[in-house]
């Protein structure tokens, strides 16, 4: 599974309609400007597919909060992985959104746009100092004029190379490709020796690839997309040249991240932009590949990319003060640190990455990977703009595929993808 794959069916339009029809909608301006009230009463805390492996951690977290705040009850519920955005949309429309929800920026944007989430830039601007600046920024939506969630856990990952594949196809593994230019050059070389038996690249560039390549994705005000400049054309042209030389198969043009991982595990792809849990995954399901894998820093022309999950507070919560207190408690330094020691993720709380856990090398592969990723996280950016909907993700991939196949001019394809993404931005 990808870091957090966007839901296949997304219902923001329906949500907007349903909200309008029921009269429970309303702009973000309706929400209170300060949170008042006592920290007590019952709240519901919803996580996304974390119960299976981390139930003990969350039960402990809930108990610790209840003990520290007598008179509060936290009801923890956990949703299955599939269809999470649909569940959020339906609950928001029905007025049954939990008080504190585990959410990614894209879903947060949709709900914030419907006026469902507490605007922290109004209610709790001081909180900003407690988190990594780039993590806090990921939930700041300039086009909506606010910040809508407390940053929670982060993930990023280095490049994984299958050295057996590289060797077979005549690419030196010393040094491993460290830049996009080196990567595409190696891809061309593999195409010449191996044809399409094995290729360097297993997936078309996604929006975050453009970000890492150095393409500005959106304007400052968050009102229009800009990933159709000369730099973006250059990136797609690299893929196009690679494809035309036989360095990418037609099959890959439609692949999602999971497909790329599968192809890597099957030894058909040389390079996988991974995450901190990729190594564990490889060891468990593709031990042969795990033996020959080499890890090197994430390829980027700018800052490394990262992904984020956050905790948002329901603006209509009956116990807003308690919900805010709990969201801050769950995302404070100690609790984030404890969680990241159990799961292969990284804390977004300021200073948490200075913990020895992220700075001391104990000699294992896992520790090396953790240290390298933690270093990347400390400077990483969440490139994926929250306003870039999952429909736009699909549309961009389709347009790039047409350009790569040579059926469309690269610039024209990108222009069209930008136009499509712009059209799905909320109307003022």
């Amino acid at each position: 599974m990808s870091f957090r794959k966007p839901a296949r069916y997304v219902l923001p339009v329906v949500l907007a309609l349903a909200l309008g029809a029921c009269g429970i909608g309303g702009g973000a301006d309706d929400s209170e400007t300060t949170v008042s009230g006592e920290v007590k009463g019952e709240i519901t805390f919803q996580t996304w597919n974390l119960k299976g492996n981390y139930a003990d951690y969350f039960n402990g977290l809930v108990t610790a909060f209840q003990n520290a705040n007598p008179g509060t009850t936290v009801k923890w519920i956990d949703q299955p992985p599939e269809g999470y955005q649909d569940k959020l949309s339906a609950d928001a429309a029905a007025g049954s959104l939990p008080d504190v929800v585990d959410i990614g920026p894209e879903a947060a944007f949709t709900l914030a746009n419907a006026g469902m989430l507490l605007d922290l830039s109004k209610t709790d601007p001081e909180a900003k100092a407690s988190y990594l600046p780039k993590a806090w920024d990921a939930n700041a939506f300039p086009s909506l004029g606010g910040t809508y969630a407390y940053p929670w856990y982060l993930n990023t990952g280095p490049s994984f190379f299958n050295t057996a594949v590289l060797q077979k196809c005549g690419v030196s593994k010393d040094p491993l490709p460290a830049t996009f230019d080196a990567l595409f050059a190696a891809g061309q070389k593999m195409a010449a020796t191996c044809k399409s038996d094995a290729t360097m690249v297993g997936r078309l560039p996604a929006i975050e690839t453009f970000g890492a390549y150095g393409v500005p994705l959106m304007d400052q005000a968050g009102t229009k997309f800009t990933f159709n400049d000369a730099k973006a054309v250059e990136l797609v042209s690299h893929y196009r040249n690679l494809f035309q030389a036989g360095g990418m198969t037609e099959e890959t043009l439609n692949k999602l991240q999971t497909g790329e991982v599968d192809a890597f595990k099957a030894g058909r792809v040389g390079w996988l932009p991974g995450s901190s849990y990729t190594l564990k995954d490889l060891k468990a399901t593709a031990p042969k590949v795990a033996e020959t894998v080499a890890i090197s820093p994430q390829i980027t022309n700018d800052k490394p990319n990262m992904y984020i999950e956050s905790l948002a507070v329901n603006a209509k919560s009956k116990n807003v003060a308690t919900a805010v207190a709990f969201a801050k408690f769950a995302t404070n330094k100690e609790n984030q640190l404890a969680f990241s020691k159990q799961a292969a993720i990284f804390p977004s709380a300021a200073g948490a990455l200075d913990d020895p856990y992220f700075t001391t090398d104990d000699g294992t592969d896992e520790a090396k990977l953790r240290l390298e990723s933690a270093k990347a996280v400390s400077e990483a950016v969440v490139y994926w703009p929250a306003a870039f909907s999952s429909k736009s993700v699909d549309y961009l991939r389709e347009q790039i595929a047409l350009a790569v196949l040579g059926k469309k001019d690269v610039q024209a394809a990108l222009d069209e993808a930008v136009k499509y993404a712009d059209a799905s931005l909320p109307k003022k």
Binding site: V14, N53, E82, G83
Partner: protein, 273 residues
């Protein structure tokens, strides 16, 4: 038939068998593979090198599968009963009774087929919630209790019964209920089986709607519960395969029980093929 023809026929049958049953066999083989198996080996291995039943016990340890099966069973039972009763009655009315706007009503059922569930699911949820059925199994079952497709299937089933049969009964003094129950229903048992199987499979496999209606874990249906087998950050395909096989068993059982009627029904209904 000559020998070559026969061979050819079996080859085609075998190819189709592999095409249709292949993915299922793969899941079955995957569910028995142990930690020593390379899942992505080229060429793919069907026989596990390190066979184990650990994946099945793993699924049973992690999840209250029996509870989920029970919940799914309740939903499926409600849906099957609702469809058999509702669709049969409605189908009979549309096919054999004369009333104003009959064509219009039939048209409405056809139109209902064209509405994708994704576009109305939130409105449907608001409705179910306002009746206080959110987070109940009844709330999951209710919207599919009488499906438009099944009504149309039953209508077609009733329509092919010769008019003379019913007229003869009418001359003998049989009222509408009597003609429905004693004359027409026995003729459409096959179609009713088709409706039963379709609605069972539909209810058993549905994911999105139960996900939206249910929020407490003790009410989860099997599809929701098994979805949890997908790991938080990465998944073990072996566990998922074992879960898939577990979810499949009841469907196979129902089909095996009803298959005698099923094929008869397929021929009797309007959907030959």
């Amino acid at each position: 038939m000559s020998r070559t023809q026969k061979t050819l026929r079996y080859l085609v049958l075998l190819a189709f068998f592999l095409l249709l049953a292949g993915p299922l066999l793969w899941q079955l083989s995957l569910s028995f593979k142990g930690a020593g198996d390379d899942l992505y080996a080229q060429p793919p291995q069907v026989i596990p090198a390190d066979p184990t039943t650990g994946n099945y016990t793993g699924v049973l340890d992690r999840l209250p599968v029996l509870l989920y099966v029970l919940n799914s069973g309740i939903v499926a039972l409600l849906v099957v009963a609702g469809n058999i009763a509702g669709a049969t009655l409605a189908g009979f009315a549309l096919a054999r009774l004369r009333f104003r706007f009959r064509c219009l009503v039939t048209g409405l059922f056809v139109v209902a087929l064209l509405v994708p569930i994704e576009s109305i699911i939130i409105a449907q949820f608001l409705l179910v919630r306002s009746t206080g059925l959110a987070d109940t199994l009844l709330g999951v079952a209710l919207p599919t209790c009488v499906a438009a497709l099944n009504v149309l299937l039953m209508r077609n089933g009733f329509q092919v019964i010769p008019a003379e049969l019913e007229e003869a009964a009418r001359i003998d003094g049989a009222g509408v209920w009597r003609r429905f129950w004693h004359v027409c229903v026995p003729q459409v048992r096959g179609v009713m089986t088709v409706v039963a199987i379709f609605s069972f499979v539909g209810a058993w496999n549905d994911f999105l709607w139960p996900l939206i209606v249910l929020s407490s874990e003790e009410n989860y249906t099997l599809t929701l519960g098994l979805n949890r087998l997908r790991g938080t950050f990465y998944s073990d395909p072996r566990l998922i395969a074992a879960g898939t096989i577990i979810a499949l068993l009841p469907i196979l059982a129902v089909f095996a029980l009803l298959q005698r009627y099923f094929f008869r029904g397929l021929e009797a209904g309007g959907i030959k093929g």
